[in-house]
C-alpha cells in the first residue's frame, strides 16, 4: 500500500468506522489526492514541522490573530491552520454550489413572505408558532421592502459529508456569516509555504470574492442612486472579526466605518470625511440587528447609528444583510427547509437536510426523550456551537439534566441523529503526526438582483480535539485550505 512508503503518513491510523476524505475503505489513496499525497510524501516529518512554523509566522505577520487576555499584556494567537489541503472535485462541487444557491434563494423568498403576506403560514406549510415565538423575528421589518428584494445577500451554509459519502447541510447562517477572510488567508499561507503543490492541480482562485461581493451589493442599490457609495460597518477594532471586516473593506476598495463615523439627516445616511459629509448608499453591516440603531432597537447601543433604520425603511440605504434575517437561520426553521424549497421554488432540495425532531411536537418530544443517547440536542437560537449536547457523550446524570431542560421549554430545542462528520488527515502539533480529524465546510453564497455568486472554495473547519465533532473556532477549531478543482 502506498501509505507505507509515504514517510509523512507512515503512522497514520485509520478508523474504518469513519469516512476518510482521502483514503477509501480499503485504505487506498483516492485518485484525486494521489498527486498531493506523493508530493507531501517527499517531505520528512521534520521538513513538515518547519513548514508548519513558517505558515504560522505568515499568519502572525499578517496580523491574522485573536487576542488572549492576560494580566499584563494581551497575547496574540493565530487561528490553527492545517497545511494539508482539502480537495473537492468538480462533480461534488457542482452539487454543493447548486444546492447553496437553491437554499439561499428559497430562504430569501421565505423572508419576503413572512415579512409580507405570510402565505406559507396561511397555506399551512410552516406553523405560525415558528415565527411568532422566534426571538429573531423583527416586527419593525413587517411590510418593509428591502432594496432589490434581497434579504440574505450573504449566506454561509455549513455542509458536512456523512458516512454515506453524501453532503448534508447542518446550518444556514444568514445573519453575519463570518470566515471568508480565512479562506483567502489560508490560501495565501499555503502558497507561501508550499507553492510547488499548486503546479500539479488546477484550482479555482478564491481571491475574487470581494469584487463579486461589491458587484452584487451594488446591484441592490437604493432606487434613484446612480453610482452607489458602499461601506462596511464594524463594531470596532477590538471585535474578534475585525481583521475580516478590514479585509473586506480593503479588497472591495470601500471605507471601513464605525457607527460614530456615520450620521443620519433627513433620512439619508452620511459619513464624516476629511472633506465633510459624504452620502452612503449601501452598508455591508457586521453589527447585529439589535445594535444597528439605538432609536429603533437596543437604546444603549454605542456602536450603531441613530436614525439608520428610518433611513432604511424609506429605501434610502441598503443594509446587507437586511435586519430580521435571523428568523430564518433559526434551527427550527432549518427543519422545514425541504418544504420551504418545494413551496417557493417547486424543486427538490439538492443538498440533504439532517432529519430533525422538534421537541415542540409531543410525539417527537417523546422520541427525543427516549433516544437522547443517539441524538444531538441543539438549542434553536444559539450560534457558535454553544449549548449543544451530544447524546452518546453524556453521563446518566447529564442526560437527566438535559431532559429536564427540554421538558421545561420544548420550543427551545431540536434534536438530530448524531451525524458522522467525515475525517481528514490533519497535522497535530503534540504528536507531530497526521491524525484523523472531523471536518465540515462553510460555503459563501452572495445574492444580488437577478444574479448570484458562490465562492469556489469555502472554509473547511477542523475539530482539533480527537473525536470532537464541533468545529467552530470559538470551540478550538482550526481550518484548512480548500481547493475546488477545475478538472481532475
Amino acid at each position: 500500500m502506498t501509505n507505507i512508503e509515504n514517510k509523512i503518513f507512515s503512522s497514520y491510523q485509520r478508523d474504518s468506522q469513519l469516512y476518510d476524505e482521502i483514503f477509501d475503505e480499503e485504505g487506498a489513496i483516492k485518485q484525486v489526492y494521489q498527486k498531493l499525497f506523493n508530493l507531501y510524501g517527499e517531505h520528512s516529518i521534520e521538513d513538515y514541522v518547519k513548514l508548519n512554523s513558517k505558515a504560522k509566522s505568515s499568519f502572525f505577520n499578517q496580523g491574522i490573530t485573536f487576542q488572549v487576555y492576560g494580566d499584563k499584556e494581551t497575547k496574540e494567537k493565530i487561528f490553527p491552520f492545517d497545511l494539508f489541503p482539502r480537495i473537492i472535485d468538480p462533480e461534488e462541487w457542482e452539487i454543493i454550489e447548486k444546492g447553496s444557491i437553491q437554499r439561499s434563494k428559497a430562504l430569501n423568498l421565505f423572508l419576503w413572505d413572512i415579512y409580507h403576506d405570510k402565505n406559507i403560514i396561511r397555506d399551512g406549510i410552516v406553523p405560525m408558532d415558528l415565527i411568532s415565538s422566534s426571538a429573531n423575528y423583527l416586527d419593525q421589518m413587517n411590510g418593509v421592502d428591502p432594496p432589490g428584494g434581497i434579504y440574505n445577500h450573504i449566506s454561509g451554509i455549513d455542509v458536512i459529508k456523512h458516512k454515506d459519502g453524501k453532503y448534508y447541510v447542518l446550518e444556514d447562517n444568514i445573519r453575519c456569516p463570518s470566515g471568508v477572510s480565512y479562506v483567502i488567508c489560508n490560501r495565501t499561507a499555503l502558497k507561501r509555504a508550499l507553492f510547488g503543490v499548486f503546479n500539479h492541480y488546477q484550482t479555482y482562485s478564491v481571491t475574487n470574492y470581494a469584487e463579486n461581493l461589491l458587484d452584487l451589493l451594488e446591484s441592490v442599490k437604493p432606487q434613484g442612486v446612480d453610482i452607489p457609495n458602499c461601506v462596511v460597518i464594524t463594531p470596532g477594532m477590538y471585535n474578534s472579526a475585525f481583521y475580516e471586516h478590514s479585509y473586506l473593506a480593503k479588497t472591495m476598495g470601500v471605507e471601513l466605518v464605525e457607527g460614530r463615523d456615520l450620521f443620519v439627516e433627513n433620512d439619508f445616511v452620511y459619513m464624516k470625511t476629511i472633506k465633510g459629509p459624504v452620502k452612503v448608499d449601501i452598508i455591508y453591516r457586521r453589527i447585529d440587528d439589535q445594535f444597528l440603531d439605538p432609536l429603533e432597537f437596543k437604546s444603549d447601543s454605542a456602536i450603531g447609528v441613530p436614525g439608520l433604520f428610518a433611513a432604511y425603511k424609506k429605501g434610502n440605504v441598503t443594509l446587507a444583510n437586511a435586519p430580521g434575517t435571523g428568523v430564518a437561520d433559526d434551527k427550527a426553521v432549518y427543519t422545514y427547509m425541504p418544504q420551504i424549497i418545494k413551496y417557493y421554488l417547486d424543486e427538490e432540495p439538492i443538498l440533504n437536510n439532517v432529519h430533525t425532531y422538534h421537541c415542540s411536537r409531543p410525539e417527537e418530544l417523546k422520541y427525543v426523550l427516549d433516544h437522547i443517547h443517539e441524538l444531538v440536542i441543539k438549542p434553536v437560537d444559539e450560534a457558535g456551537g454553544y449549548g449543544i449536547s451530544i447524546g452518546n457523550r453524556l453521563s446518566t446524570s447529564e442526560i437527566e439534566l438535559v431532559k429536564e431542560q427540554i421538558i421545561e421549554s420544548p420550543r427551545k430545542y431540536v434534536a438530530q441523529p448524531i451525524m458522522s462528520l467525515s475525517v481528514h488527515p490533519t497535522y497535530i502539533d503534540e504528536t507531530e503526526e497526521f491524525e484523523q480529524r472531523h471536518v465540515d465546510l462553510r460555503t459563501f453564497t452572495v445574492l444580488g438582483k437577478d444574479k448570484e455568486f458562490v465562492l469556489k472554495g469555502g472554509l473547511t473547519r477542523v475539530a482539533l480535539q480527537k473525536g470532537n465533532l464541533i468545529v467552530n473556532s470559538s470551540q478550538g477549531g482550526g481550518s484548512k485550505d480548500t481547493w475546488v478543482l477545475k478538472n481532475i
Binding site: M237, Y247, D261, K272, T273
Partner: protein, 315 residues
Amino acid sequence: MLARVANNLFWMGRYIERSEHIARYLNVNYFSSLDAPNQLSQSRQFVLRSMLFMVGDPELDDDKHLLEEHVLYKIGVDHDTPYSIINNVKLARENANSARDLISTELYEAINKFYHFILNYDPAIFVKNGLHDFTLHITEMTDILRGKIRGTLLHDPVYAIIMLGINMERATQVIRIINAKYNDALNSQGGYGDKFSKSFEWTTLLKCAESYDMMRRHYKKTPTSVSTLEFLILNPNCPRSIMNSLNQVYRHIKVLDTTTNYNKNATAFLIGKVRSEIQYKHIEEIECNIQAFIENILNNLSEISLKMEKEFFNY
C-alpha cells in the same frame, strides 16, 4: 477618507517617527559618552539625565543617583510609561490596525513585525547589554516602514496624512533634541577646552539627528554651536532639519487643501506662515536667544496640530 481614520493615520506616522528619535537618542548619547573628551560628558549620570530630559520627564532632584537599568527600562520597554518606545510602537500599530483597509498589506505586515520584535525583546537583556542591538533594530525598522510608506502606498490623501504626521513629529522631535543637547552643552561647559561653542555635545546632537555625515560634507569643519544649529534648523537640504520638515508639511497639506484662495483660517495658511518665518531667519538671530526660538517653534507646531485637528480630523 473618514475623519477618524485620517486622525489615526496621522498619529500612526507620528508614533513611528517618535519611536525612532527616542531610540536613536538613547543609542547615540550612551555610546558617545563612553569615550567623551571631558569628564562630565563621560559621566553616566549626565547621560541618563539627558535621556530623561529629552523624553520630557526630567529628573529635578540634582542629588538623586539614577540607576542605569531603571532609566533604560523606563524609556525603552516599560508598558507603564506613556512615552516609552514600546508604547509608541504599540500605538503606531493600533492606529495602523484601525486603518488597515487603507494602508497596504506590506506596510501593515512591517508594522506588525516591528511590534512583535519589541514585544518579544527580553527586557532583562535590553537593560543589561541589549541597548545597541535594540535601538539599532528600531531605527532600521522605522527606515523600513518609511520605505513601505513611500513605496507601497498610493501617493494620495492617505499618504499625505501619514507624511504630515511623520514630518510634524520630526520637526517636533528634532527641536526637542536640539533643546536637550543645547542644555547639555550649557551644563558641560566650564573646564579647560570645554568652550560652549566648540562643545563635544554638538557632534552628539548631529548624530542624534543622523546628520553628522551630512553636516561634515556641507561645512567640512568640526561642528560648532552656530554651524550645527544653522544646519539642523535652517538648511532646507538636510532631510532632518526643521526647515525641510516644515517644507514637507506644507507640501503635504496642499494635497489635502487644494484651494488657492487666500483663507487666513486654513491650516495650510498657518503652516505657510510659520514656514516663511523660519525661511527668512538667519542663524545669528536665532543663536542669540535659542531658548525663546525653541519655545516659539514648539508653540507653532502645536498650534498647527490643533488647527489640523479642527479642519480635518473632526468626527
